[in-house]
């Protein structure tokens, strides 16, 4: 009985994260079309209808999926059969797996059990997410290499170069956060952001590490391979690593970009925007700086926290979409220069600065 309950809980945790990420990824196709349309004074896709119901074009992702699934699955004659088929799956798998160690709520206590609201409890969660994000580029490289197409190969090579330069900056910028909160576990980092600075300011990562936030977001957007860092794709010069793919396999690469957007949004939320923390909400209810308190039941607190996390992730996705539809793309050499001569030295400077402040301040805030 106890084993069944444990299994059920573990399954529920994984299912929640999986469905959240998958649905967000699917929905982002719609968000992208509608948000860009509204930003550009257009209306956007609104024609797909079921029984005359249009719902602001919400059926378009379904229509797209049906179309992609029924298209010819083409494979070039000289392509590597196995790797060509495997590449999109590798891509999607690592993008999906990356979200596992991002906590979406505090510990839930039900019937004497303590359930950490996180798909996998890892004490090196931050490293795990990086590892998954970096491994994701293997799918792209495999796609580029196995397609037997020079443009695809160029795209794959660019993806690798971009990922390395972005990954270094991500890792270095995150060091500051790890130093401030003193843990590699995502849950501990989010918990650390629940304290108040000077008694009123939530110690969110964006407050304690503003420079790291900007650097991480920039490098994170680069890691999603979307505009303004779409060198692997490079529509205007090389079609990119998925030039030979058709049907749902091409759709999976597109999906990967969306999933990675969700992962980066989740990461940014957890590391810099307080994760599931609601300002001034503690385990037993609200406690405002003035001393005013409002007790809330445990379940409601947890619900509020999960809601806050989802809301913050959606907000971050909105910001990332805003950037994607505002900025023109970087040239390949410009992106490399930004990564190696801009983001990376600044991240190192941020580490030094954080260390100095922590040394002078005498420990963590």
């Amino acid at each position: 009985m106890s084993l069944a309950a444990d299994l059920g809980i573990a399954f529920g945790r994984v299912a929640f994260v999986m469905l959240f990420v998958l649905n967000m990824g699917g929905l982002l196709g719609w968000v992208e079309r509608k948000q860009s349309a509204i930003m550009q004074d257009r209306i956007g896709a609104n024609r797909a209808s079921i029984l005359g119901l249009r719902l602001f074009g919400l059926f378009h992702p379904i229509a797209d999926a049906i179309k992609l699934l029924t298209k010819e699955d083409f494979r070039p004659a000289r392509a590597d059969r196995f790797l060509f088929a495997l590449a999109p799956f590798v891509s999607v798998f690592f993008a999906l797996a990356a979200f596992a160690s991002i906590p979406f709520g505090d510990t839930l206590r039900v019937a004497g059990r303590e359930i950490p609201l996180q798909a996998v409890t890892l004490n090196v969660g931050v490293l795990y997410v990086f590892a998954m994000l970096s491994l994701g580029v293997y799918g792209v490289m495999m796609a580029g290499w196995s397609s037997a197409n020079n443009y695809a190969l160029l795209g794959g090579q660019r993806a690798a170069a971009l990922m390395i330069s972005a990954e270094v900056a991500i890792g270095a910028s995150i060091m500051g956060v790890i130093m401030v909160y003193g843990s590699l576990s995502m849950m501990d980092i989010v918990r650390g952001q629940g304290t108040l600075l000077w008694g009123w300011l939530p110690a969110w990562g964006i407050v304690t590490q503003p420079l790291a936030f900007v650097l991480f977001l920039t490098a994170g957007i680069a890691a999603t391979k979307r505009i303004p860092f779409d060198m692997p794709e490079g529509e205007s010069e090389i079609i990119g690593y998925f030039i030979e793919y058709s049907g749902m396999k091409a759709g999976m690469f597109m999906m990967t970009d969306f999933l990675e957007t969700v992962v980066i949004a989740g990461m940014t939320t957890s590391l810099f925007l307080g994760g599931w923390q609601v300002p001034y909400l503690e385990a037993h209810g609200f406690r405002l700086p003035g001393g005013w308190t409002w007790a809330l039941p445990h379940l409601l607190v947890v619900l509020l926290q999960v809601g806050a996390f989802v809301l913050k992730v959606c907000g971050m996705i909105f910001v990332m979409m805003l950037i994607r539809w505002t900025l023109p793309r970087f040239r390949y050499d410009q992106a490399m220069r930004l990564g190696w001569l801009g983001l990376f030295p600044l991240s190192v400077a941020n580490i030094v600065l954080t260390g100095l402040v922590l040394l002078l301040w005498g420990g963590r805030p």
């Binding site: 948000q35 349309a37 509204i38 930003m39 550009q40 004074d41 257009r42 209306i43 900007v214 805003l322 950037i323 539809w325 505002t326 900025l327």
Partner: protein, 179 residues
């Protein structure tokens, strides 16, 4: 200023502020419209098949042949339009007119719309004001080249556009196109 631009982040933020302002302004207008305020428009889009922009009276649209009071074509088959047509899309076969005061009448008057470049020279060249391009009809398409040939009877049946520039006669549908 140049140093500030080189720093990039400031320019990025101002660009994002601009697009975000567009987003929220348009979103607000869309919301107002959904709440019943019909003059709020969040987009410049014209939802084409249902919604059409008014056409200018000068618009050169599908040709029509003008009729006399008795319904016969005003055209006297002088071949002016066929001669002036740069696309050579007009084919006329002349015939005798029963009335001796009228010289000729077209036995056939075909326009291959698939070749027409809509220059309007035929309208200008016509001495009888027998051909006009004022029907306001723009949606003529076909699955075959044959379907793009409009015969004398089809061209005679067309009416001029209404005062708003909208077509008054139905769009002639070629046999190979289902509506």
């Amino acid at each position: 200023m140049r140093a500030l631009q080189r720093f990039y982040l400031v320019e990025v933020l101002s660009g994002i502020a601009l697009t975000a302002a567009h987003f929220f302004r348009n979103m607000g207008r869309h919301t107002l419209r959904a709440l019943g305020k019909k003059d709020a428009r969040g987009a410049v889009t014209i939802q084409y098949p249902e919604e059409r922009r008014p056409y200018s009276p000068r618009l050169r649209s599908l040709h029509r042949l003008v009729r006399r009071e008795d319904g016969s074509p005003r055209c006297v088959a002088c071949m002016m339009c066929e001669t002036v047509c740069p696309a050579r899309c007009i084919y006329i076969i002349a015939a005798e007119h029963p009335n001796p005061e009228i010289e000729k009448v077209p036995a056939r008057f075909d326009i291959d719309i698939g070749k027409c470049v809509f220059c309007g020279y035929c309208v200008e060249a016509c001495p009888e004001d027998a051909i006009r391009m004022d029907t306001g009809i723009l949606e003529f398409s076909s699955y075959s080249r044959g379907g793009m040939i409009y015969t004398k009877d089809a061209l005679l049946a067309l009416e001029p556009a209404g005062p708003d520039g909208r077509p008054r006669s139905p769009v002639p549908i070629p046999a190979d196109r289902t509506p």
